[in-house]
Symmetry: C2
Subunit: 337 residues, 2 copies
Amino acid sequence: MAATIRDVARVAGVGLGTVSRVLNNSPLVSAATRQRVLSVIEELRYSPSQIARNFSLGRTRTIAAIAPFFTRPSVVERLRGIEATLASEGYHLVVFNVETVARRDECLREVPRNDRADGLLIISLVPRPEEIRAFSEASMPVVLIDACAGGLSGVSVDDVAGGELATTHLLELGHRRIAFVGDPLEDPLTFNFTSSYDRFTGYQRALTAAGLPIQTEYHRHSLHGRYEARVLTHELLNLPDPPTAIFAASDTQAMGVLEAARDRDIPVPAALSVIGFDDIDIAEHLGLTTVRQPLFESGARAVELLFMLLSEGIAAPPAERLAIDLVIRTTTAPPAT
Amino acid sequence: MAATIRDVARVAGVGLGTVSRVLNNSPLVSAATRQRVLSVIEELRYSPSQIARNFSLGRTRTIAAIAPFFTRPSVVERLRGIEATLASEGYHLVVFNVETVARRDECLREVPRNDRADGLLIISLVPRPEEIRAFSEASMPVVLIDACAGGLSGVSVDDVAGGELATTHLLELGHRRIAFVGDPLEDPLTFNFTSSYDRFTGYQRALTAAGLPIQTEYHRHSLHGRYEARVLTHELLNLPDPPTAIFAASDTQAMGVLEAARDRDIPVPAALSVIGFDDIDIAEHLGLTTVRQPLFESGARAVELLFMLLSEGIAAPPAERLAIDLVIRTTTAPPAT
DNA sequence: TGCTACTATGGAACTAGTTCCACAACCGCG
DNA sequence: CGCGGTTGTGGAACTAGTTCCATAGTAGCA
């Protein structure tokens, strides 16, 4: 078996507490004693048990992150921001990937309850009121990313403004028949995604502000994914009066829109403008016009907020908004005359 | 403070062991006692401390994964396979992202030593002999993914055969001036990636088998990335006798090749064929011809091997090879006549 | 009825750290 | 020289589970 702190104490001829003090760099050890203890540690190849340490301290230096579909490029980029910031503080990251509603519920119920993490980050999921109550009962600090709920700290962007920004760009180019492709509106009780919904709201606001009617046949919603967006786009292009521009609620969905246009040999942007949301890595390769949101930073900043919550002294930082901006590339242009 | 197992025992008027037995579904508890204990657990809202449990059992039900650049689509897909399989067994996943050599060394040194994980998965990194020795000294079970080293268990594909497969496809289409774009060859002491090197070996073998000379001006190596591959491709296309086909060591690099072709208005595949490796998600969107390797499965299978190692009874499963296959899409065609 | 065997139960010991209290040694100062 | 304060040290108690041994109770059987 591995050596313990007691073995070190015995061999070095000192007390338990002294070894512990050496390990924790307490100044209350004489140089001679410290040296002796260190050499015994070396001799016995002693390495302190992290698990016993965690148990004794009641802290784990670990943060849990619950992420839906962590293969989505936007989620991965947020996780990278999280990991980088945690690692720089010597914290570990436990990832829970959520791809079904059952697992969403399981994670939100179990993760805060077991004390294996000092804090919790939740990406793109909105906890229900009873879940929020359970967080505070278990006194588990929580920070939301890309979501907002019941007074919890969070980092997000103004998706409504983002939707307006995208739609206004299309309007300013001269488009009047502008369609929207996004996630389903009607599952507030399952995953509780909200960003697609908010972007849709912004889209509608921009149209209304421009004095255009809201035409429901231009609104298509389906599960998130390239393939689904492609199907929806074919529906739109089959309309008697097809749109000249499409706002997709995410870059992934915008890729599906581009695929549908390609299926029909419709040139982009000459005959169809396409704008996405997120500015994921491949958006640049595709030349996709999009609304950029700071994904890496959202993860990094959320960790900072969580550390504030962990250091107790500091009051719960409120929900923060990060800046978004329009990135114009080559998939948007004025409509064909 | 939260209730402990002792509180439950006291309130229920039973012994410590009995509560523990109820929690662990031991059959050695009478139905009446079990019922009483369960109701007290409910009453006190008792939830066992995982951290104390881990400490007592000496196991954490956690697996650590060290992944270089975990934002790379191929790595993410492997991680997804890992997470899915771990979650189905109730295990947790701690992710360590490696983006510098210093962090690589730190992770390989520290992660096995601290006993916060029951096992370790290492993606695309080849541990050095002394690191392998440290694993066995710390008796930390390790499974490699996309790598192979010193008798460690692992899951990989035959990258040499993959390189041959890709190159042979180009040869069969009639190409004779075939270039290679990949990672640097000469950093065996830094990250110790090997797959790009092996694919390059396969490429050379296929050329030799076809009786073609190995022309070093057609071999370009640089750091992994779209942008770097784009720069290398411009170098290739500037040659007096530019290649008619390019084999990129990964799909990400193939994207850079495509960008360079687009920069120069060179039509793909009419004037330049491009083949990648991995078959990441967007390869389909891009219509990229590529060599598919089972990424998700590599993660899932590695977890299975790790579980075998953990169950002690089973001998170390040897390094396994997964199947690869050629996916022909629209970036390869016979050369222009 | 008495012996055996098995079930159900209680609780001490154990896991490997940290923390804190008690105490000794030593120093400086009045 | 004595006293208060500081420094260095030892080790019991604590964290919250699991495990295992001892033992009481009881059923089965000769």
